[in-house]
């Protein structure tokens, strides 16, 4: 028996849930729109970098190093006389590309493994989850740094390193979702109706489970961008002289007392990018699984 206060609370929650549910058209979803605008703008900058950047991002001008912001160089120049604004724009291309591409392998690999483990269960599941536990013991940055060292420098080794670390999260999420989905009546019904395991996984469980993996993927892109920028800062990432925000921060740190903008602005770009992706992730999760939002 519910007391009226409880009843009222429940009713209020219901109404709130109804309001936030996707009855509201997607373009009225504030977080989603903010995410689309910010991420869209960044992607546009990245794609149009050759047109937008006023200078060649790696062209040195040793007669004009460490210049303060001016009409020619809006954000000044670095210690090799390279235009910081141009490097910032080209950096968007590198960081976003690596960030987006880095999620693909672990997304596919981890999701498939997680789905198989969750759906079939048994010893397969036990072994896989033990492996996942082991991988979770290694801190993200430590593992990525060590693996990049092992695989050697270059973009490909960054993808490999990130994939080797972050597949476990997808496996865990997807496995959990599959375990829940598997118990739903419609799955039992499909099984009794003679549908094969593969078809059930693809047709009935996949779509529900995938939306959770996609939502996690958005926050994973943020984490990957952080990893690339951190690697760049440590001098282990994309090799110089390629423009990349992390290595720009490293270059600028030396001159923090005189040219504060050199280290500050690339960091702000990272903040803007991850803010946009967070909004996009929140918005997507509103859109894809409204009933889970509080």
């Amino acid at each position: 028996m519910m007391s009226p206060a409880e009843l009222l609370n429940a009713r209020l929650q219901q109404r709130r849930a109804l309001r936030s549910r996707s009855i509201k058209p997607w373009y009225r979803n504030g977080a989603l729109m903010a995410g689309i605008v910010i991420v869209g703008a960044l992607v546009l900058i990245a794609v149009l970098a050759p047109l937008l950047a006023p200078y060649d991002p790696i062209a040195q001008d040793l007669r004009n190093t460490l210049a303060s912001p001016s009409a020619e160089h809006w954000l000044g120049t670095d210690k090799f006389g390279r235009d910081i604004l141009s490097r910032l724009i080209w950096g968007a291309q590198v960081d976003l590309r690596v960030g987006f591409l880095a999620v693909l392998i672990p997304f596919v690999f981890g999701s498939v493994l997680g789905a198989i483990a969750g759906y079939f269960g048994g010893w397969l599941d036990t072994i896989l989850m033990r492996i996942v536990d082991v991988f979770f013991a290694f801190p993200f940055y430590v593992m990525v740094i060590v693996l990049v060292f092992i695989f050697g420098s270059g973009e490909a080794s960054i993808y490999l390193a990130i994939a080797a670390v972050s597949w476990v999260s997808y496996a865990k999420i997807v496995r959990g979702e599959v375990l829940v989905a598997k118990k739903q009546d419609y799955v039992t019904a499909a099984r009794l109706g003679g549908m094969s395991h593969g078809r059930i996984l693809v047709k009935h469980i996949g779509p529900n489970v995938l939306s959770q993996a996609i939502i996690y993927g958005m926050s994973d892109i943020v984490m990957d961008i952080m990893a690339i920028v951190t690697l760049g800062y440590l001098g282990l990432g994309i090799a110089p002289p390629t423009a990349e925000w992390g290595s720009m921060i490293n270059d600028g740190q030396e001159f923090i007392t005189t040219q504060w903008q050199q280290a500050t602005i690339p960091g702000l770009m990272v903040v803007v990018a991850s803010l946009g992706l967070s909004f996009l992730g929140d918005g997507l999760s509103d859109l894809l699984s409204p009933e889970r939002r509080k």
Binding site: A5, L7, L8, N9, L12, R16
Partner: protein, 331 residues
């Protein structure tokens, strides 16, 4: 007659969150409780009875507020009083017992300490003294082996024991008014009876007045001296328990009586009230019971009927109160 201990006048409570124009849940409710009285508030879920009780204790849920009216305790106006001074009344003056003893006790604090909290705050007791007080209160509420039980966590006790802990807690500072929100609903029938007896005895001993919210007329009949029947946010009938239950004048009170089993006349068929209570957000104008009322006349639908005195100390908010009495006799 002396001043009442608690005097509620024209109290209105509504949901204020999320809208510019608040939805009224309790409207124009007035009643008095004198010292040592046992006052029952009866109604279905959603009738506003619990919110009325919570308003007295300043325990309304977030987003629900007292919109108008007055609550005077011992001559002092409570509505609009600063929260800090109002909270100081809670414990030594007014105490509350909740419906669900499982969720109403803090799961991570030993029950003895939860009882001792009030005495330590108000009676200026040390930790050891307040624990002794807690154990004393537990013994008073009939908890066996209170010294050991005081060290238990709520999840280690049965529902009946937990509700006894709640009672011990509420009475630990000798309040003068005890608010009870369906204190026995969550318990087994046999335990229900014991807990009610215990409440009555303890209130008699300490002279505390009781405000008792329930949906169960039988409980009110057993425990209370006076009652008010609430329907959809309004008090529709009030008076002494004996008067109202023997001569109900509001069709809703009648409906409640007809739909509840009567142990004196087990052969009487149970007659449910047709229809459902109105949604708080879309209450009809006029008497809220009109759509379900067998005696409805046109005037019922235009304005809320005023409370009329049908006998000394017995009021009913019904235009047809006199006719209903005659119909009842005729039946």
């Amino acid at each position: 007659m002396t001043d009442p201990l608690l005097s509620v006048r024209s109290l209105s409570i509504g949901v204020t969150r999320g809208s510019t124009d608040p939805t009224l849940i309790v409207e124009d409710v007035s009643f008095d409780i004198s010292k040592g009285e046992r006052f029952g508030i009866v109604g279905e879920s959603g009738s506003g009875k619990s919110l009325t009780l919570r308003a007295i204790g300043d325990l309304l849920p977030r987003g629900v507020e007292v919109l108008a009216g007055s609550i005077r305790y011992n001559g002092t106006e409570l509505v609009g009083m600063p929260r800090s001074s109002r909270r100081k009344l809670m414990g030594p003056e007014i105490a509350m017992i909740f419906q669900e003893p499982m969720t109403a006790l803090n799961p991570v604090v030993r029950v003895g300490e939860q009882i001792a909290e009030g005495p330590r705050r108000y009676l200026g007791m040390t930790r050891a003294e307040s624990m002794a007080r807690a154990i004393e209160m537990m013994a008073k509420t009939g908890i066996p082996d209170p010294v050991r039980r005081a060290r238990a966590y709520p999840h280690e006790l049965s529902g009946g024991l937990r509700q006894r802990i709640m009672i011990a807690m509420a009475l630990s500072c000798d309040p003068r008014l005890l608010l009870c929100d369906e204190p026995t609903t969550a318990l087994d029938v046999t335990v229900q009876h014991q807990v009610l007896r215990l409440l009555e005895d303890l209130c008699d001993d300490s002279g505390a007045a009781l405000a008792f919210v329930t949906h169960d007329l039988a409980v009110v009949n057993q425990t209370c001296t006076d009652l008010a029947v609430m329907y959809s946010g309004h008090i529709v009938e009030s008076g002494t328990v004996r008067e109202v239950l023997s001569d109900p004048r509001h069709p809703y009170t009648q409906g409640l009586l007809d739909s509840a089993p009567d142990f004196d006349r087990p052969e009487r068929p149970l007659i449910p009230i047709p229809g459902f209570p109105p949604n708080v957000a879309s209450r009809p104008s006029g008497c809220p019971f009109a759509p379900r009322c067998p005696f409805v006349v046109e005037a019922c639908r235009t304005a809320m009927p005023p409370m009329v005195t049908v006998a000394p100390g017995h009021g009913a908010a019904c235009i047809e109160a006199d006719r209903i009495s005659r119909e009842l006799v005729a039946r």
